[in-house]
């Protein structure tokens, strides 16, 4: 079988799974299909990634699809989080359904599964196309696919959130499209023929008009930045993540924003090739710092668990932006590593949040108390997750944040200043998080938390374990040891994102 097969299969498998769910009879059948589909997809993604790691980039469908190391990283994270997401969905949706919280009962369940698989498919599509225009199409498709999932529980708040999400992201994405067009023009001015194929643009022949590319990048950054959730374009996040079903929220936060970042970085590369690293790098740095700064107060004052995590996503997207803005092999690899860690950790956290909501019947932080006594396992999972996301050892994010900052220290004085600032901000954010965490895990359990004691706890069902354990393994594993091939992968990607610095990460 050829690579092409795997790749196409990777994109089509979720699609078919989704369709199958759509026509499936009954919720249980749906779940079974979901499991199979998820497993197949995971297998395919592993195959593709392995292929990429083994012998580099390849294309298929007459150059329509093209995956390099960077796509490989994204496929890996989508594979992991997507699998975990579709697994955790089973106990989650089952509980919701038992509680009658799913609109139109089984039909709603079918739509849900169809939705998440379609969503996953669009993400795979986005990261594996060659043509930047299609990349745009893919990102817009993710928005459309996920908007309905956000509004899944047809409640008012959910619908409003979905509306905001859709409108804001569509607006952003439209700006991005303009950016894509400008890129096209830039290509035409630069080298007579206008093309949007990454492989040709980023290739040695690709020359772009610097000034126009600069403008193009501005639109791309603002447009896709809205999707990725840079402050002050992040405003839809809190509502969307807060209202979306937790598995979806996990996928949105864990990978979707990273996919948007992926898009930005592709153009970042083109821009750097056209204008040198300074321009786009500084923009990223600026947006990143601002995002971390803006995320801080909302984390400190958060009242709602999932909104808290949403703002932490803003923070972490900001950190990644800073890492790529700092650039250089160190910065880029650190950013990529952070991307991977954040995907696993944040998905884990949202899944935990979902379980907590089902257990306590609320997302209000003030109402969640004494978890370590009421629900020890879940409580410790929350503790672990929060410690991981706030960058404490032995979790991966500690390593990646450390590398980001140390990369900053290798930069010029502005980058040193930036890294000092972010360390302090992260410190305060940690303070905010711990305040909530201590309250939730240790505080005195009030207002009868046993109201919902009857529910089947998501983290105890087999599917739940299948969702949590892999994520947890990745979180901890990357904290103590990063295997050789993965490090090589990162270096390879660094060479793709910053062709200027093609030598592997120093030391």
């Amino acid at each position: 079988m050829s690579d092409a097969f795997w790749l196409i299969g990777l994109i089509l498998a979720p699609v078919f799974t989704g369709l199958a769910c759509l026509i499936a009879r009954g919720a249980r059948a749906c779940e079974r299909i979901n499991v199979m589909g998820a497993l197949v997809t995971l297998g395919l993604s592993v195959a593709v990634v392995a292929r990429i790691i083994k012998d580099g980039a390849f294309d298929s469908v007459r150059g329509l699809l093209y995956v390099d190391a960077f796509s490989g990283l994204m496929i890996a994270s989508i594979g992991l989080v997507g699998f975990a997401g579709s697994m955790i969905s089973i106990p989650f949706i089952r509980t919701e359904n038992d509680r009658g919280a799913v609109p139109q009962r089984d039909r709603g369940v079918r739509l849900y599964y169809a939705g998440i698989h379609a969503f996953i498919a669009t993400m795979y599509f986005t990261v594996s196309v060659d043509n930047l225009g299609l990349l745009w199409v893919g990102i817009e498709a993710t928005t459309v696919a996920s908007a309905l999932l956000v509004g899944f529980s047809r409640k008012r708040a959910a619908l409003d959130a979905a509306w905001k999400y859709l409108i804001l992201c569509t607006v952003g994405i439209t700006c991005a499209l303009f950016g894509v067009l400008l890129t096209y023009f830039a290509a035409r001015i630069g080298s007579g023929n206008g093309s949007l194929d990454w492989s040709s643009l980023a290739g040695p022949t690709g020359t772009l008009d610097p000034d126009l590319m600069r403008l193009a990048f501005v639109f791309i950054l603002v447009g896709l930045g809205t999707k990725a959730g840079f402050a002050p374009l992040h405003t839809w996040m809190a509502d969307a993540y807060g209202q979306a079903p937790s598995p979806v929220a996990g996928m949105l936060s864990g990978v979707l924003s990273s996919v948007a970042l992926y898009g930005i970085l592709r153009f970042h590369t083109l821009t750097t090739m056209a204008t040198g690293t300074q321009f786009s790098g500084n923009l990223l740095l600026g947006f990143g710092l601002f995002s971390v700064l803006i995320a801080l107060p909302f984390i400190v004052l958060a009242r709602d668990l999932k909104r808290l995590f949403a703002f932490s996503s803003v923070e972490h997207m900001g950190l990644m932006a800073i890492a790529f803005g700092i650039g250089g092999p160190l910065g880029v690899t650190a950013g990529l590593f952070h991307l991977a860690n954040h995907a696993a950790t944040k998905a884990f956290l949202f899944f935990v949040a979902g379980s907590i909501r089902q257990r306590y019947g609320t997302r209000r932080i003030a109402a969640i108390r004494g978890m370590l006594r009421v629900e020890p396992v879940l409580g410790w999972m929350l503790v672990a997750g929060v410690l991981a996301i706030t960058g404490t050892p032995p979790f991966g994010i500690f390593v990646s944040e450390f590398s980001i900052v140390s990369a900053g220290f290798h930069g010029d004085r502005w980058e040193i200043a930036a890294s000092i600032v972010i360390v302090l901000l992260i410190g305060v954010i940690f303070a905010g998080f711990m305040r909530h965490l201590i309250g939730m895990s240790y505080g005195i359990a009030g207002n009868n938390p046993d109201r919902f004691a009857g529910i089947t706890p998501a983290w105890k069902s087999r599917a739940g374990i299948a969702a949590f354990v892999p994520l947890l393994i990745v979180m901890v594993w990357f904290g103590v040891h990063v295997p050789e091939p993965i490090r090589d992968l990162f270096n390879e990607i660094a060479a793709i994102i910053e062709p200027a610095s093609r030598e592997v990460a120093a030391r």
């Binding site: 370590l372 450390f402 140390s406």
Partner: protein, 684 residues
């Protein structure tokens, strides 16, 4: 001298041991009750191994390294056991033995709600966390490279955080733990800056390479590094005003953990400072030493003052930890100043003083915390005002605590004095190092401050022991206290013995740590001669021979009684109630702890600003008073003036920003538009 010359991998044995203890604890969660002490016993064994490894490494004085694995972007995990690390491994391990053994009995019979370890899970939690705590501390000193250091550092803070918060049942502990973890985390940020600056210069994360590149550091790099390190490690060391977490957190933990935190954990900060100053970033300009000396003086004096004002036994001890870390910092400052002045032989002397005092403090502070725990176990309270008369009810504990109190008050011939004597001598050396008035005055002031601290410490521990253990019990809890279990006694006894022997045999200790000093001051450092026989008038050094002094004290102590006996024969002794102006003696008549420190509170009003509350309740007419409640509390000024404002500022800022997320989609779209336009304009 030469030790066992163990292979390199043995340095990790204690760590694995502690981790085994953690595993044992986890396994015992739902296990049988008989399995309770297993974890603690494993910890004890590992600590013993730690002592052996450390001592033998000190004896055969050679640096051993273990290559670990590369983690990411050149982050190397590696281990190194040099003399300094060995010394600190020793400081970590020997109190750990006592604490672990003590813990067995303590957890069996702890009173305070939350520490009550009757139910197994909690006990397992404490044992496991304790094991992890010790493991991380040992790892900290063994780590060769900033990343391993930081991981261990954070792990140390987190494990101790979990120990402090316990089951978080009461608000006080939650807030204590919160303050602790937040402050230590932000402090870690500064340590990170210090390290990363060096790593960036050296192009490596490993201490060995960084130390190698230290020579070519720029002046401002050195200064920045030192500054950040001072802030970061100063917080952990509890230097005023960075210390506010310490008196909150240390008492909250179970007492044998408090012992480890106060006696050992804070020392890791000193370890970090020493590494930075003497190996990684030094030598630097003079002001480093001066700053350290001044910071030390402030912490020492203020710390002991606050300790004097405390009614809570363990809080008092925690403040005295602030004091002693101040003293150690003072000594470190002297060493730094001399080291930076390129006077290695004098710096070496000061280093001896620092290390010895550090070791001693580990002994007696741990001992006193264990004692406090025993009192708490026996009486269920830590409030001095509710104690009294314990010496009759728990005689052994009383003796141990008395030894601890005497040592910490720097009374000869116990170990506390040995350290202080060396410090005074190094102050003298500092003053003599160049004859300019400023340095001399600095030395003089330092001596005065040290003397003041010592005298206040005497007062403080007279108060602690006198009010807590002597005379009559003030409450029923104190009245029906009983001696604590054997394992607790053993733990305390072990440390008490350490106090005695470290005091008498300080000479041997000095010879033991000789390689450490040699490694730091890059100079063969002969240990200071404490005892000079035969005096030639030209070289008259100050000297202190503990053994002779001890013997002398005994002889001279017996002498007058012998004389009296010889002259006037034997006389009897009658037991009678004391004379209280003809009234019947009541426990209420006894001096209270608050009253005892009243004069000092009045004299130092200007720094400690006590809040006095007097409530006179009279049912109807103000002339018929039924009762007067007098309370005097001390709320530290820096909390009032620094930290409250910081917090207020943070929340103010947050409330300011929050409306941005108003929920209006048009506002959000507005942000997009504005951002777009701004960036377009900026980008051109």
């Amino acid at each position: 001298m030469s030790g066992l010359s163990l292979p390199a991998w043995t340095m990790l044995l204690p760590i694995f041991g502690y981790l085994a203890a953690v595993v044992a604890a986890i396994l015992s969660v739902n296990g049988k009750n008989a399995l309770r002490p297993v974890s603690s016993l494993i910890t004890t064994a590992s600590a013993l191994i730690g002592v052996v490894v450390a001592v033998s490494a000190l004896l055969d004085n050679e640096t051993q390294t273990l290559r670990g694995w590369e983690l990411f972007n050149g982050i190397q995990i590696g281990f190194r056991l040099d003399s300094l690390a060995a010394f600190f491994l020793l400081v970590i391990s020997f109190p750990a033995i006592a604490a672990a053994i003590y813990g067995i009995g303590y957890l069996d019979s702890a009173h305070e709600p939350g520490h009550a370890a009757a139910q197994l899970p909690q006990r397992a939690g404490i044992d496991g966390a304790a094991g992890a705590f010790l493991a991380s501390m040992s790892l900290l000193v063994l780590a060769d490279g900033i990343f391993g250091f930081l991981i261990a550092w954070e792990a140390m803070s987190l494990t101790s955080f979990f120990l402090v918060i316990g089951d978080g049942a009461n608000t006080a502990r939650r807030s204590a733990a919160y303050t602790y973890v937040v402050m230590t985390h932000i402090a870690t940020g500064f340590i990170l800056f210090a390290f990363l600056g060096l790593a960036q210069h050296a192009g490596s994360f490993n201490f060995t390479q960084i130390a190698g590149a230290a020579g070519s550091l720029g002046a401002w790099q050195r200064d920045a590094t030192f500054f950040c390190a001072l802030l970061g490690f100063g917080t952990k060391a509890g230097l005023i005003p960075l210390h506010i977490w310490l008196p909150k957190a240390h008492p909250a933990a179970p007492s044998h953990i408090s012992a480890l935190m106060s006696g050992v954990m804070v020392k890791t900060a000193i370890y970090g400072l020493i590494r930075i100053i003497f190996e990684l970033a030094g030598p630097g300009p003079r002001w480093w030493g001066t700053v350290l000396i001044l910071a030390g003086i402030v912490s020492a004096v203020m710390g002991i003052l606050y300790s004097l004002m405390e009614r809570d036994l363990k809080r008092g001890l925690a403040y005295s930890t602030v004091e002693h870390l101040g003293i150690i910092t003072l000594g470190l400052g002297i060493a730094t100043l001399l080291f930076n002045d390129d006077r290695p032989e004098l710096a070496a002397f000061a280093l001896f003083a620092v290390l010895i005092h550090l070791l001693n403090h580990a002994a007696f502070k741990s001992l006193l915390f264990l004692g406090a725990g025993a009192v708490q176990t026996a009486t269920g309270t830590r409030d001095l005002e509710r104690l009294g008369g314990l010496i009759k009810r728990m005689p052994r504990t009383a003796i141990f605590v008395l030894i601890g109190a005497a040592s910490i008050s720097a009374l000869p011939p116990l170990n506390g004095f040995a350290g202080e004597w060396l410090l005074f001598q190094s102050l003298l050396k500092l003053g003599g190092s160049d004859d300019t008035a400023p340095i001399a005055t600095l030395a003089g002031i330092g001596a005065a401050a040290l003397a003041l601290t010592g005298a206040l410490a005497v007062a403080c521990f007279i108060r602690l022991f006198g009010i807590g253990f002597l005379a009559q019990p003030r409450t029923d809890e104190a009245a029906d206290a009983h001696e604590v279990s054997k394992s607790m006694q053993f733990g305390m006894g072990l440390l008490a013995t350490c106090c005695l022997f470290f005091g008498i045999g300080v000479t041997f200790l000095l010879r033991l740590i000789e390689p450490v000093v040699a490694q730091l001051s890059a100079d063969s450092a002969p240990p200071p001669v404490l005892f000079a026989r035969g005096v030639s008038t030209d070289s008259l050094q100050g000297s202190y021979a503990p053994l002779f002094v001890a013997l002398g004290l005994v002889v001279v102590g017996i002498l007058p009684w012998a004389i009296a006996r010889g002259l006037f024969g034997k006389v009897g002794r009658r037991i009678a109630p004391p004379w209280v102006c003809g009234f019947r003696i009541e426990t209420g008549m006894q001096y209270t702890a608050t009253a005892f420190s009243k004069p000092l509170r009045l004299m130092f009003q200007f720094v400690i600003r006590p809040d006095r509350t007097v409530v006179i309740d009279h049912p109807d007419s103000p002339y018929f008073v039924t009762g007067v409640h007098y309370d005097e509390t001390v709320r530290p000024i820096y909390e009032r003036y620094i930290y409250d404002n910081l917090v207020r500022g943070l929340f103010g800022f947050s409330r300011l920003i929050r409306p941005m997320q108003g929920g209006s989609i048009r506002a959000y779209l507005g942000y997009v538009l504005v951002t777009l336009i701004l960036v377009i304009v900026l980008a051109r």
